[in-house]
């Protein structure tokens, strides 16, 4: 299952997109992810040797963070499109 705002990142979850691509928004809620109605969802079924990673949307409040600090916000689930990158716990000075 993938999701993307226009010009944002994409992409796939092996197995999930494969078996349950009919009700994508519902499946995302099983992962605890609720998306606004205006968010386009794209399902990527990786049937070849091409592998896809989601470039997570930058969370609000992350301005001014270093590359390492940003990387710490990214989880596996964020890179397979079933979670958002976590917002930083404290706003940097």
């Amino acid at each position: 299952v993938a999701r993307a705002r226009p010009s944002s990142g994409l992409v796939q979850v092996r197995g999930i997109s494969f078996t349950r691509c009919r009700r994508s928004a519902g499946i995302l809620t099983e992962f605890g992810l609720r998306l606004d109605e205006d968010v386009e969802i794209r399902v990527w079924d990786s049937t070849a040797e091409i592998r896809y990673l989601v470039l997570p949307e930058r969370p609000s409040g992350s301005e001014g963070l270093s590359e390492d600090e940003l990387a710490a916000l990214v989880t596996r689930d964020a890179m397979i499109g079933v979670a958002k990158a976590a917002p930083p716990r404290r706003v940097p000075a």
Binding site: I16, S24, I41
Partner: protein, 219 residues
């Protein structure tokens, strides 16, 4: 083959239970199953597509009751038997036959890092005439091979649009049967949710999948 692995569009498996973890293995034996298949793959008796093909030969009841890495274990035994590296008797008794043929050359411990690091690219630097340009309306062929294929059942006979060509890639359908690579264009194809699932389709969610040229026809 229209096997149990090709589950796209099936209902009834219940809700997804996210594991929440970031580790690839839940049990120690799973890591071993992973290592065993990679180590034996280095013997060069089969390719990645042949492995998938073998895993797809399980009956539906076997397939669904085995854990993911259990299929790796059971599948590897079948691959080893088919390749003549292990006899059924040895598996049944758990004892190696001292007269059995040994794989040559064996994978040595010091070679493991380089073998694991060596990727097995599936794209090929050969030039082919491009049949479908970006934006072309296509239909996935309604084919039902009795051998390995990567064309999901749920797209067969359905209309889609070429989004992009990935380049020239090995064709798994022939490669799995060790019948040659038959490199051809691999396309990134978009299908509307309603084309695939009718009135249950999610209009918010088109499905994108990679399809080899041989499995596409012009609309």
């Amino acid at each position: 083959v229209n096997g149990m692995h090709d589950m796209g569009g099936m209902d009834g498996f219940g809700p997804i239970r996210p594991d929440g973890g970031e580790t690839p293995f839940q049990h120690r034996w799973e890591a071993k199953a992973f290592a065993h298949l990679l180590a034996c793959g280095a013997l060069g008796k089969w390719n990645n597509d042949a492995v998938r093909s073998h895993f797809e030969s399980f009956s539906p009841s076997e397939y669904l009751t085995m854990r993911y890495f259990e299929r790796w274990n059971v599948g590897l035994i079948g691959l080893l038997i088919d390749a003549g590296l292990v006899a059924r008797e040895e598996i049944a008794t758990g004892r190696a036959d001292p007269t059995a043929q040994k794989a040559a050359p064996p994978l040595r411990e010091q070679d493991v890092p380089s073998v694991v690091a060596a990727r097995e690219p599936y794209n090929r630097a050969v030039s082919r005439e491009l049949i479908f340009a970006n934006g072309t309306k296509v239909r996935a062929r309604n084919v039902h091979p009795e051998t390995h294929t990567r064309l999901p059942r749920y797209v067969r006979g359905k209309r889609g649009v070429i989004e992009r060509c990935h380049g020239v890639f090995v064709f798994p359908d022939t490669n799995a049967a060790m019948l040659g690579e038959h490199p051809q264009h691999l396309y990134f194809v978009r299908f509307d949710g309603t084309e695939l699932w009718g009135d249950r389709g999610d209009i918010r969610a088109p499905v994108y999948t990679d399809i080899w040229e041989q499995h596409l026809e012009p609309v």
